[in-house]
Amino acid sequence: MPSEPEAKTEPIATRHAYGDALAELGERHEDVVALDADLAVSTQSIKFGKRFPERFFNVGAAEANMMSMACGLAATGKVPYCSTFAIFAAGRAYDQVRLGIAHNELKVRIGASHGGVSLGEDGASHQMIEDIALMRAMPRMTVVVPADYNQAYRATLESYEREEPMYMRFGRPATPIVYDEIPETIDGGVDVLRAGKDITLIATGHMVWRAIEAAESLQQQDGVDAEVLNVSIVKPLDSEPILESLSKTGLGVTAEEHRVVGGLADAVREVAAEQHPVPLFAVGMGDEFGISGTGEACMEHFGLTARAIADRAREAMVLKPIVSRPPLFGPEWT
């Protein structure tokens, strides 16, 4: 067994985890190939490309071609990892991913970096805020959004062990570490990071560390005991831990760097509405496009911050005595 790298402790971007783990996968498995569309340094697939040039195909600025080529490679026994920005992976090449990869249930992994508005300065043309919705809607596609470097590293390594087509979203900016160690597995994709009883904060990707910060502020300033869930597999959504938490707290706030339509908010609402309806509030992008600015300024501008999550939770807590009620028909949790 190859040795595991050391877990990171300082802020670092999840795309670096993808690049590091992809190179490691290349070392371990002969059939792994990588494709990129002239963004290999940004997506970090360059690490694989330098080590395995014969298995690395840079197709230039031609994302549609890349996705269909991956289909041909996978149909002939290879395991392709396609890297580009989320905007092009999910937007420009949707039909190619849909027919060639998802419909054929091929073992292709799409490493989509620079998801969300936190890529910053490039602005709306590059800020992908609806990819989770698009990929959730696509039949047979699994959607993975890791929270930090350590989890992203494990998610990428583990992607080889799974069979289904997979869309993986990574980010541009360095973000704080959430997992002290490289987790042993991403498992079903929902981790309880902080136990609490008053309200459930459900977050994904770059919003997870912010949700933890929000929970701490709620504890200190309001004496509210918030539970924090990290959803790293948005689809298929593991409903059990989410329902378990919601049925305990009776109230939830979701947080994502993405449109609330079709994203994590909707995924959680679907599950809750059917099985245990409780009030759910969402932090995410409204009916609007991104803008230029530093990554952090963009997050501020669109209210994708720990403070925004905490404020939303406070609003929810005001409503709690009015709206919360014991489950009528809900499943029994032990």
Binding site: E54, F57, G60, A62, A64, S68, M69, L73, L99, N104
Partner: protein, 322 residues
């Protein structure tokens, strides 16, 4: 003419008088089917297409007919494939980039025993393994699912690269069959660029240039012009042939194998070829034949088949010798 509305008469699979069944891979080699035999097989495939679509009452008949000669040449002579071992690693690959012409590929696959001939008439029906467009997960012998124009050549290129990594690019050739519509899609030219850049030696793109698309002629709707010159400009080996002249088709396909760079064959064809009421005429794309049209087409094709069969029987055993 037989009562045209009687679909049973149209659809039942009359056993075709067959002097020789298609040779299995192992028997091929010295006894390659001759041009006259290939022409006859093209008629058999056309007949199957008319029957299939008359029953399904849905599908693209004219697009299938224009490709019949090319597909017959491929499946009966050029492709190294084995229906008993469809996953054979070093087989040649055929990708029907113009996925809407699925019936012609289904006919060729069924005639080679990839699935029973009777299954053909189930095409496009609920629960059938023969979908409206080729589906690799449902139909044996389909390499990749297609149907969205423009993607097939990229998929073929991906297959070429995988074969290279497996050290099979000297043995296995990948043939992609494109339509005029494929050449209107920008992605085809992304793939054309990349194929030369990656220097794949085993890719053949055949363009079934039949000059008709859904809304009119390609010249009216979106003229793709001199496709041969375009592929040449992209750095491909590029030839133009008459896509209904079996001699030219076979020669071009076999030659493309020996060209050690991406090779394009622009086959000038007529949409609906083989059925005089449809040949080169606008208005049939995506429209299944009416029972009357089907009966007429079957009559014409059966007469042609009988003629070809008689000529073959008269000429004696394959190759005139042994």
């Amino acid at each position: 003419m037989a009562a045209p509305a009687n679909l049973a008469a149209v659809t039942h699979l009359r056993p075709v008088p067959d002097p020789k069944p298609p040779p299995r891979l192992a028997e091929r080699g010295k006894a390659q089917p001759q041009v006259a035999e290939l022409e006859r097989w093209a008629t058999v495939l056309r007949l199957d297409c008319v029957r299939m679509l008359a029953v399904a009452k849905s599908g693209h008949l004219d697009s299938s007919l224009s490709a019949a000669d090319i597909v017959a040449a491929l499946y009966y002579r050029v492709l190294r494939h084995d229906s008993e071992n469809p996953d054979w690693r070093s087989r040649d690959r055929f990708v029907l980039c113009k996925g809407h012409a699925a019936p012609i590929q289904y006919a060729a696959l069924a005639q080679h025993g990839y699935f029973p001939l009777q299954d053909l008439t189930g095409v496009r029906q609920i629960g059938a393994q023969l979908q409206g467009h080729p589906d690799m997960r449902r139909t044996p012998g389909i390499e990749v699912s297609t149907g969205s124009l423009g993607q097939g050549l990229s998929m073929s290129l991906g297959i070429c690269l995988a074969l290279r990594l497996d050290g099979l690019d000297d043995t296995a050739q990948v043939f992609g069959l494109l339509s005029d519509g494929d050449c209107q899609e920008g992605q085809t030219w992304e793939a054309a660029t990349a194929a030369v850049h990656f220097g794949v030696p085993n890719l053949t793109a055949i363009v079934d240039y039949n000059h008709l698309q859904t809304d009119g002629t390609t010249e009216e709707i979106m003229d793709i012009g001199d496709v041969r010159a375009k592929f040449e400009a992209f750095g491909w080996d590029s030839v133009q042939i008459d896509g209904h002249d079996m001699n030219e088709v076979v020669e071009a396909l076999e030659r493309s194998r020996t060209v050690r760079k991406p090779a394009a064959i622009i086959a000038q064809t007529k949409k609906g070829k083989g059925v005089s009421s449809m040949e080169g005429r606008f208005g049939f794309h995506g429209k299944p034949p009416t029972p009357e049209q089907a009966a007429e087409a079957l009559e014409e094709l059966m007469a042609k088949l009988d003629e070809q069969t008689a000529a073959l029987l008269e000429a004696g055993p394959r190759g005139g010798g042994e």
